[in-house]
């Protein structure tokens, strides 16, 4: 029986057992990390806006995992798990959520502005669609330097209604920039269903610039990973920009201050998705069925990532708040020898 299933599940054949276990471990890490953030937010350790990625793990892992270390990733404000996927350590990411000096952005960015220049995780941007032209800029720089990196730019479905998106797509097409635009299509822009504010579905909206448009099941890690692995090589080889509609679902509210369900989507809808389209659950079922993983192994992985997440929270907790003097650092990278740059009359 198991033998038959495994044979039938062609998608599994592409990956080694270790790789498949790694998928599970990574997605569990993202899930547990976000749950920890949710908990920390509830007790006031995290403030402001905090957008959780729960339910969308297979998009982050599948679209980022196949990249090289020197490839670029940029995203919007739902950015914690992409940061982890691009290789950032959970401790500094959590500490950034906590607004601590040990945070990736020294506590100056917060949840929406996670950056890891070293890991080439380029943020963390708070204005819907604002990151899209920046991604084109990374692509431009890659071409300018005649290098072979690739840039993956995430955006939400609502961002395709922004002018910045269309301007950037057009320029990317004109200059054949090595950028893959991945729309994390979770069906809602905050509380507004995409179908209510767009005459065409997401996948159609990238057309019109001569850029290939693709659609993938964003809840299936085997699909997202395999798809991206192939696409990245094409782009690296000079195929030019790509547009991907990654269909997914947000299990939580838009941000911590928003309800999970409400007037814009029903409880039933959310339940149906969380039960039927949970990327972790889907992978587990397939691995269990193919006998590539058992309950003990799963629990061991979960224990391992929970430990990592606990350590991240401890790291964040132990990290001091930024010193008051940090208020004025990093406004300018070059303090000119002459003239005044700050006008508040305060001591610095």
């Amino acid at each position: 029986m198991a033998q038959t299933s495994q044979a039938m599940d062609k998608a599994l054949e592409r990956f080694s057992r270790e790789k498949l276990h790694a998928f599970m471990r990574e997605m569990l890490l993202y899930r547990r990390f976000e749950e920890k953030a949710e908990e920390a937010y509830a007790i006031g350790k995290i403030g402001g806006f905090c957008h959780l990625h729960i339910g969308q793990e297979a998009v982050a892992l599948g679209m980022i995992g196949p990249l090289r270390d020197d490839d670029y990733v940029i995203t919007a404000y739902r950015d914690h798990t992409q940061a982890l996927a691009k290789g950032m350590k959970p401790g500094p990411v959590m500490a950034e959520l906590y607004g601590r000096d040990g945070g990736a952005s020294r506590g100056k960015g917060g949840s929406m502005h996670i950056f890891g220049a070293k890991e080439r995780f380029m943020g963390g941007h708070g204005i819907v669609g604002g990151q899209v032209p920046l991604a084109a800029g990374f692509g431009w720089a890659i071409r300018y330097r005649e290098e072979d990196q690739v840039c993956v730019c995430f955006l939400g479905d609502a961002a395709v209604n922004q002018g910045a998106f269309h301007e950037a797509l057009n320029m990317s097409a004109v200059w054949k920039l090595p950028v893959i635009y991945v729309v994390e299509n979770n069906e809602y822009g905050m509380g507004t269903a995409f179908s209510r504010v767009s005459a065409l579905p997401v996948v159609e909206r990238g057309k019109g610039y001569g850029i290939p448009a693709h659609a993938v099941n964003g809840q299936d890690i085997l699909e997202t990973w395999a798809f991206m692995e192939d696409l990245v090589e094409e782009v690296r080889g000079g195929a030019g920009p790509q547009y991907v509609d990654a269909r997914t679902y947000r299990f939580k509210g838009h941000s911590m201050s928003d309800p999970v369900s409400g007037t814009y989507r029903s409880k039933e809808e959310v339940r149906e998705k969380t039960e039927g389209a949970d990327p972790i659950r889907l992978l587990r079922e397939r691995l269990f069925e193919a006998e590539l993983m058992d309950q003990d192994e799963l629990e061991a992985l979960d224990r391992e990532v929970r430990e990592i997440v606990d350590e991240a929270a401890e790291f964040a907790d132990a990290s001091p708040f930024p010193d008051a003097a940090e208020l004025y650092t990093h406004v300018y990278s070059e303090i000119n020898e002459h003239g005044r740059l700050f006008f508040d009359g305060r001591d610095r």
């Binding site: 950056f115 720089a141 910045a164 004109v174 020898e337």
Partner: protein, 329 residues
């Protein structure tokens, strides 16, 4: 010293910096094949090729953002706005991305970019093409703002702006491009004027006219009129508005005890508002009269020639303002 136009001074600066540093490129509307809407980039396409002199689509938000992205990963883009009027479309990328990036990354990612083009009014271009954009930019910490009023300043300051490691808005003037002036010969060495240093364009002891950009020339005309009346006006050309040479302003006010701010923009929260605030706060005991501002009329720019003329600040208004602070009327 060679006498060249403001336009050619900018062209020299661009060429020299691109020659010096391969990471510098110029992007904007009409900058390549057309040689620039105001011919600032004339001949550069031929010299540097289309990799580095790039015609953009009419997408201010898009190519401004593309420039910011390129700067984030180490290039040094010069983004030309055909005029800064159009840059209002791009302000999200300027304010939310360029200005804040270094800060919100906790110092990980600097943005060495120059946004340049003409600001303010030309002649009868009407409301949407005739506004001074300095306040929009200088208001935001994280940005530097440079406003040269002469060919020499245009060259020396553009070179410094391109070399600066932060976002710099470099505002020129449509009516300045043909202005001629002495600019040091390129063969005599690298001519760079550091940001944050004001220049006293005319010495005087009776009243200080503080100004920037194109208005420097209006101030000089006003000073010539005042001179016939026995009034010696000192003209402090700020040249850069951030970093701001506060010392130069205070020095002159200590000397003359009277100041007028002249700017092309609107009065409400104009550049002059900040300068007046600094003067009253830091040179209060040296003031003999309230500081007065000369600005554009507080209206959108009209088209009709006669209305446009009276909407703009000019030498006559500066003379009037100087007389006011001199208690001469």
């Amino acid at each position: 010293m060679p006498v060249i136009t403001y336009r050619d001074a900018l062209n020299q600066a661009l060429a020299e910096e691109m020659e010096r540093d391969d990471s510098v490129f110029l992007m904007g509307e009409e900058v390549a094949e057309y040689d620039g809407a105001y011919k600032v980039s004339k001949g550069l396409l031929e010299q540097f090729g289309e990799r580095r002199i790039v015609d953009s689509p009419i997408s201010e938000l898009g190519f401004a953002g593309l420039g910011v992205g390129a700067a984030m990963v180490g290039l040094r883009p010069v983004i030309e706005f055909m005029t800064f009027n159009f840059s209002i479309l791009a302000l999200d990328q300027v304010i939310n991305a360029a200005a804040k990036m270094y800060y919100m990354t906790g110092g990980q990612i600097p943005v060495p970019i120059v946004f340049r083009g003409p600001t303010g009014a030309a002649l009868q271009l009407s409301a949407q093409h005739s506004q001074a954009c300095e306040t929009w930019y200088v208001h935001s910490p994280g940005i530097k703002l440079v406003t040269p009023g002469t060919p020499a300043d245009a060259k020396g300051l553009l070179k410094a702006s391109i070399r600066d490691n932060d976002p710099v808005a470099f505002m020129e003037g449509e009516l300045l491009y043909n202005l001629k002036g002495e600019v040091p010969d390129p063969d005599d060495g690298d001519f760079v004027i550091p940001l944050g240093v004001a220049d006293v364009k005319r010495e005087g002891s009776d009243v200080t006219i503080v100004t920037h950009g194109k208005m420097v020339n209006e101030a000089l005309r006003a000073a010539a009129t005042l001179e016939k009346d026995g009034i010696e006006a000192e003209i402090v050309d700020l040249r850069t508005l951030r970093p701001l040479d506060v010392e130069a302003i205070l020095r002159s006010v200590h000397k003359t005890n009277r100041a007028v701010y002249l700017e092309e923009g609107w009065p409400y929260v104009g550049i002059g508002s900040q300068i007046v605030s600094i003067i009253q706060e830091e040179a209060f005991d040296y003031l003999d009269a309230p500081v007065v501002r000369v600005t554009q009329a507080d209206v959108p720019m009209p088209y009709a020639k006669n209305l446009e003329k009276i909407a703009k600040p000019d030498a006559a208004r500066v003379v009037e303002a100087c007389n006011r602070v001199l208690y001469r009327n």
